[in-house]
Symmetry: C2
Subunit: 271 residues, 2 copies
């Protein structure tokens, strides 16, 4: 059973690939029994693909340009929805019966295999507009039929937020009202933003966090890290920045497990 279930992420470029590498390592560190799949775009370079191959069971190139289906053709009129389209591609992984999608900017803090007990579409509320779910972590069932329907929503109505989250919320529109078991606890998609908007709740419940989501413009790989002192350089106290503890955990994995693999692949090349 576990063999046809997988964690799935997406990286369309080398920066998001760094996130995918850390996410994959964090899942392995916490001994997941499920397969790991990363969808990559054509712009991910060869050395990054090599490193992803070492961490993931399956590295699947999602090449929009070669796609010849009708859905793709209609989307060509909406180039703005390109990245959105790419994430929806996860529904085409029909050699798995159930999957958990995780954004490349998420980090697992403990084993989360219990997520596979949930059904499509399970997700955690979005802080900000909590009747929408956040599409950074969700449980789904690959299905070409669902995929085609999703693409139809995209082409017909577009996305109210310009991204996959808008499309997915329009499609799975009864999430807020239909079934409480499809509400993942917020600790499965804890975004840094929530820490500052209701700090007492974070102090009360934050220690139970299982997945951190570095949502927003600043991503962990945009900071720099001092390996000698194990500290983040130039981390401001601006409340919109990431939580320093979680950022350190990300960098700890990146510098300890990912960078050595990167150096091996890239050699003297910059990355």
């Amino acid at each position: 059973m576990a063999a046809d279930q997988a964690f799935v992420t997406l990286a369309t470029n080398d920066n998001y690939s760094k996130g995918a590498m850390v996410l994959g390592r964090s899942l392995r560190n916490h001994k997941t029994s499920r397969k790991l799949v990363v969808l990559i775009g054509p712009h991910v370079t060869e050395p990054a693909r090599e490193v992803l191959q070492k961490i993931y069971d399956e590295v699947r190139l999602v090449d929009l340009l070669d796609s010849r289906d009708a859905a793709h053709l209609s989307l060509m009129k909406r180039p703005d929805l390109g990245v959105t389209f790419t994430k929806l591609h996860c529904w085409t992984l029909t050699h798995y019966s159930k999957c958990v999608f995780m954004d490349a900017d998420t980090l697992v803090l403990s084993n989360v295999d219990e997520l596979f007990n949930r059904e499509e579409l399970s997700a955690a509320p979005d802080p900000g507009w909590p009747d929408c779910f956040n599409s950074g972590v969700f449980v789904f069932r690959p299905s070409n039929e669902t995929y085609e329907q999703l693409i139809q929503v995209c082409t017909k109505d577009g996305s109210f937020d310009g991204g996959d989250q808008g499309v997915l919320n329009s499609f799975f529109s009864n999430w807020a009202t239909a079934d409480i078991t499809k509400h993942l606890p917020f600790i499965y998609n804890l975004s840094s933003i929530a820490i500052y908007s209701y700090l007492p709740a974070f102090k009360q419940y934050g220690s139970e966090a299982k997945v951190v989501h570095f949502l927003g413009k600043m991503k962990p790989w945009n900071y720099s890290y001092d390996t000698a002192t194990k500290s983040i350089k130039g981390h401001s106290q601006d409340p919109s920045t990431l939580h320093p503890d979680y950022l350190l955990r990300w960098w700890d994995i990146y510098s300890g497990s990912v960078l050595p693999m990167m150096k091996e692949q890239y050699g003297s090349q910059a990355f």
Copy 2:
């Protein structure tokens, strides 16, 4: 049936009384069939009580100092929880079978009597930490037993956020996971803060708003209003400020229906 159901709010001083007056008027404007109750503290002045009498069916003085129950006595060691304690008092309204509590800084945009179809404890998610409910709008069943239990939680564990929301979330701790019908749609407690944190969702769903909650430090009565031009003075473009449309609706009711009553009561006194 409707006769033993009520909307309940709380005002411990004249400022929050202004909020309660506008809230009460907005409920009447939208033709609620339920009773209106306001709990007031001893610091609410006589003219403000008179105006509240005209809008509410019941103005109930909650005089902490005169209370002689054990719960109250233990709370005396925790003066910081005073306002919290006052809100919990709504459970003592046992001459009603079911009530909807609404913060004095909320405003009703349409008839919301359908809230009485819900059971205790129904509330909308808190943007920020969405596995907590926001205690600005909630459905409850008055009960002296529940009241005593709540006060016990207060005195034993305090409140993780120093307010009633922390206590209520600790007590009704399975809200996030147990029953989807107890999740009020977010449009029944739309806080200004959510508008700016996920603007596309507000643009998509905001027109369905039924209750606006002016959560946070700046309250509608802290602004000033130009009756001639019907505009808010000194409203900054700071994203943390209130949404100008909702603020105008609040002031429209305040200046049109409440101020004339206030003038009558206060006479030449300042208010």
